[in-house]
Amino acid sequence: MLTAILIMSGLALVIGVILGLAAIQFKAEENPLVDKIDAILPQTQCGQCGFPGCHPYAEAISRGEADINRCPPGGEEGIHRLADLLGMDVKPLGDGQAQAKPKSVAVIDEQRCIGCTLCLQACPVDAIVGAAKQMHTVIAGQCTGCELCVAPCPVECIDMEALAEDITQWKWKYPRYDIKNSALNTNG
């Protein structure tokens, strides 16, 4: 029995070492632009852009296949930074995309939580603590507000609560100028 375990672990170790060396040897140089775009994206991996995660979306942007305005969690600031990086015009969040919401965090109603751990598995940033049959809670500082934990909850005990604006996060709103309507006004 012990020998069998030793054989399998030895085999796994040898293959692991070989693969590790190969990973260094065959390290694929990726497009550096992709990494830069990926660094700007919020890494919520929420998929609201229509791609399976932030990195695939970054790849699609770098190939020019996707617009820069498809990331609701990144919000307007994200679009501005992407536009700066790529030398493109800033545009509002895309039509099909969820519109930017006030920054909010998930809150678990601990009375109703049955400790099923489904939301733990859904959370892309590990912002939920808890264990099976123990009630869970959200670490507000880690929560990105991606809403991925809301759907899996079987007892619907997770709500999104908007964060009140306070002095630490308030900023000037970007000036909005409605070109279409103002043109009508001057002509008419």
Binding site: M8, L11, I15, L19, A22, A23, A28
Partner: protein
Amino acid sequence: MENYALILVGTVLVNNIVLTKMLGLCPFMGVSKKLETAFGMGAATTFVLTLAAGASYLINEYLLGTDYAYLRTLSFIVVIAGIVQFTEMFIRKTSPVLYQVLGIYLPLITTNCAVLGIALLNVQAKHTFLESLFFGLGGAIGFSLALVIFAAMRERLEAADVPAYFKGSPIAMINAGLLSLAFMGFSGLVK
């Protein structure tokens, strides 16, 4: 020498791994829509299969022996998974285009039953190391041959006037059956 040639002919034509032994049908149906992809998949599988046949022989002969024969399937799968990972890195480095095209089917070579099948058949037939290698290579060439022929047929089928209910996969399945029948013609070529 004659022995090795016979193993090659035998595995490529007579006991074709896909069309006679019915192993590895997932990539056979999945990656045969385009000829180029079929070539790429054939090449990747050939690489993996030959290496896996050799590696599994060494493991079975020198690591497991008869005492730990029950570890065979487990250790073979581990080795195959390792080789596939290696191939994936290699292809990603050398041909990003092929990496993109093969997509999910590349890691799925791990679960291609032809690879494990060849490794186990090698043990069953008590092949030597070189015989195992040739058996693996032959099986892989047979797999690639079936895949490429089938992909070429499917490309033509796209343009063919097929009854509506048979369009797509159903007619491809029928063709796979016909191709398999055609390969029955080789039976008896090598004993």
